[in-house]
Symmetry: C2
């Protein structure tokens, strides 16, 4: 187990109707806030009205900024920063999924920075201050509701880049599984693939003696696998949604990577897919992750065999752990397929004419590598994309 | 899954040599602190000197108060409160196990309260303020290093009582598995039984649809079971100690009871054993928990069967879940025995002449009940103590 520091300060408020006290929570931080959301679904479902009522009851004034798109854009972030500065906003409330939350985090760090917020995403500047934010989660997937990360897409060149800082842990996150009932099936599947990918990125590590975290990750993966088919069958299955929603947070709140170094190569490669082709992040991961596994599993067959046995109940081949390992990858692929997710680039609508460009972008033209389990250069990424065709 | 709120703010600093920066951490809160510890082992091992050096380097002044005993006493707490008040102490650093940490928490709430600190433990007053505390953990067991609880024994009548408040989460806890190398074998076994009991108290619940937490608890139990025998064989096995130490914190940091109501009957009953006979808490739990299980398992045979299969790898009897359930209890008992722990009151050195008194004290003379899985009155507690004879 590697040495580590762990602290997650986000307050989780979980359960039925939990959004109805949001005004009270917000008013602990500021009476003048930015309300940030996506395409307006929250207005159709009545969530918007409930939030506004609660804010008004608590005497909280707000300015709204909707329009966050999947793979949230830098231009809207800039608009949000301008609003926050001009109106002395003291708090940002994000209502939505990972895109809205990530956009809010970007606004929160940009508002208190004199330079261009994109500097942070390029690693040119370090985050030293952030407006407090809170979230009402509507899509279990990204885990951003209790994470240190934010991923933004710069339309100028379609670069998708991430920052990490403990300063952007949300102060609170409201998780009501009922809010996920209206999600389209494809989005449910994408969200689950994203949660599973967060767990698997942490799982495939070279750190040794990491039994507790291995087991906790396996436990969370099994829970997601068991429950996602239930909500696809019955979208208003509260109990199953509760398992998925809480799993999505636990998967990405930094507990499950304590004492180990995760991989994150598949995420970096997928970011180029989403950046260039604007595909759903979860769908991209469902394609990239199995391809990555096929490319790297020989690096640690035992770990892949353990994954197969403990997560997908593969019967262990004692005389051929490799057979066990390969069967585990197959099961994962079949599971994604059973959710209606694409399992190759073609199904994702991507033809192969820009694979080289993607591999190049992911690795900054071969100047750097992605991933930790094995460090992947441009030609490795290209091979993985070929495997994913 | 029940509605819940969860927030744990303790910063965990984990790994080899992690105590060497304690001065820096402390100085964020105060330059004048109380150094609280137990019987002086920390002076023999050199830990005390390392801490003092780090405090001095950081310009932190300290007053010390040693002498905390297992089942920490109210009288020493009162002494600590007096010191804190007279010297305007701004922070308490606990070096030790659960007893030292619980004693520190009691001092921290008592120092800022005009009345008698025991009021809190009697439920007569509510905690509204606490001095910040930090810990250097030397005994993985109680989980107090990242919990909201404190358990103190009032020598006047030997009452052992608990408080809970988010205000007493330690600000930071330093967990260096090396510090556990010198623990006597019996204490190692007691500590592991305590960790397992914290997990099992949470596991046996009437809350439904709690799959994620069930699986996370099982994962943590399996990790403790796999590693405690390793450290008993080889006390300086860092990797195995790391698993146990981090498991002990995860077991009791409130994550694993999200969305469910734990039982805690065995803890309440054991508190009377420790209160009257001053036995080690973990040893008492090793005796009480299996007896409690035998008394209550019929209330939910499926849950006990799941426990048996998933934690102790019992082969499921599909035609008799009860057989599976009973086998699980047996395996737990045998496991405790294999660690050198007592499994009945006699082995604990307790004859049965005061069972009635204990049952009476645990339930406040039958005015109240203990436990949630089944609410146990005085006669139930008496029966469980009889089963434990």
């Amino acid at each position: 187990m590697d040495n580590f520091t762990f602290q997650n300060t986000t307050k989780i408020i979980f359960g039925k109707g939990s959004e109805n006290n949001v005004g009270q929570e917000v008013s602990k931080y500021s009476k003048k806030i930015l309300l940030h959301y996506g395409g307006g679904t929250i207005k159709k479902t009545g969530l918007y009205d409930r939030v506004v009522t609660s804010l008004k009851d608590a005497g909280v004034d707000f300015i709204e900024l909707g329009g966050v798109k999947p793979n949230p854009r830098l231009s809207l972030v800039q608009e949000g920063i301008k609003i926050c500065r001009e109106n002395s906003i003291g708090f940002i409330l994000a209502i939505g999924g990972g895109s809205v939350i990530d956009s809010s985090k970007a606004i929160s760090i940009g508002s208190l920075y004199s330079g261009d917020v994109w500097d942070f995403y390029l690693g040119k500047s370090e985050i030293t201050a952030a407006l407090p934010i809170g979230t009402i989660l509507t899509i279990p997937a990204a885990g951003s509701e209790s994470s240190t990360g934010s991923v933004i897409t710069n339309e100028d060149g379609f670069y998708k880049r991430a920052v990490n800082s403990e300063l952007i842990y949300p102060k609170f996150s409201i998780l009501n599984p009922e809010l996920a009932f209206t999600l389209p099936k494809y989005q449910v599947a994408c969200g689950s693939a994203d949660i599973m990918a967060h767990l698997m990125e942490r799982y495939f590590t070279n750190s040794e003696h990491v039994e507790l975290m291995d087991r906790l990750i396996e436990a969370t993966l099994k829970t997601v696998i068991n429950n996602v088919t239930q909500v696809l069958d019955k979208p208003d299955n509260y109990d199953a949604w509760a398992e998925i929603m809480w799993s999505g947070t636990v998967a990405h709140n930094n507990l499950l990577n304590t004492g180990r170094v995760g991989d994150w190569g598949s995420h970096d490669i997928e970011h180029e897919l989403s950046g260039i082709y604007d595909v759903a992040h979860g769908a991209g991961l469902a394609v990239i992750f199995p391809a990555w596994m096929k490319y790297v599993y020989k690096h640690d067959i035992n770990r892949f065999a353990q994954f197969a046995v403990r997560v997908f109940n593969v019967e262990n081949s004692f005389w051929s752990p490799e057979k066990t390992a390969i069967e585990g990858i197959k099961r994962l692929e079949n599971f994604f397929k059973s959710l209606g997710l694409p399992t190759n680039l073609k199904e994702l609508g991507i033809i192969d004419d820009r694979l080289d460009e993607m591999a190049s972008k992911a690795t900054n033209s071969d100047l750097s590598t992605v991933g930790n389990f094995i460090k992947l250069g441009k030609s490795d990424v290209y091979s993985i994309l070929k495997l994913a065709k």
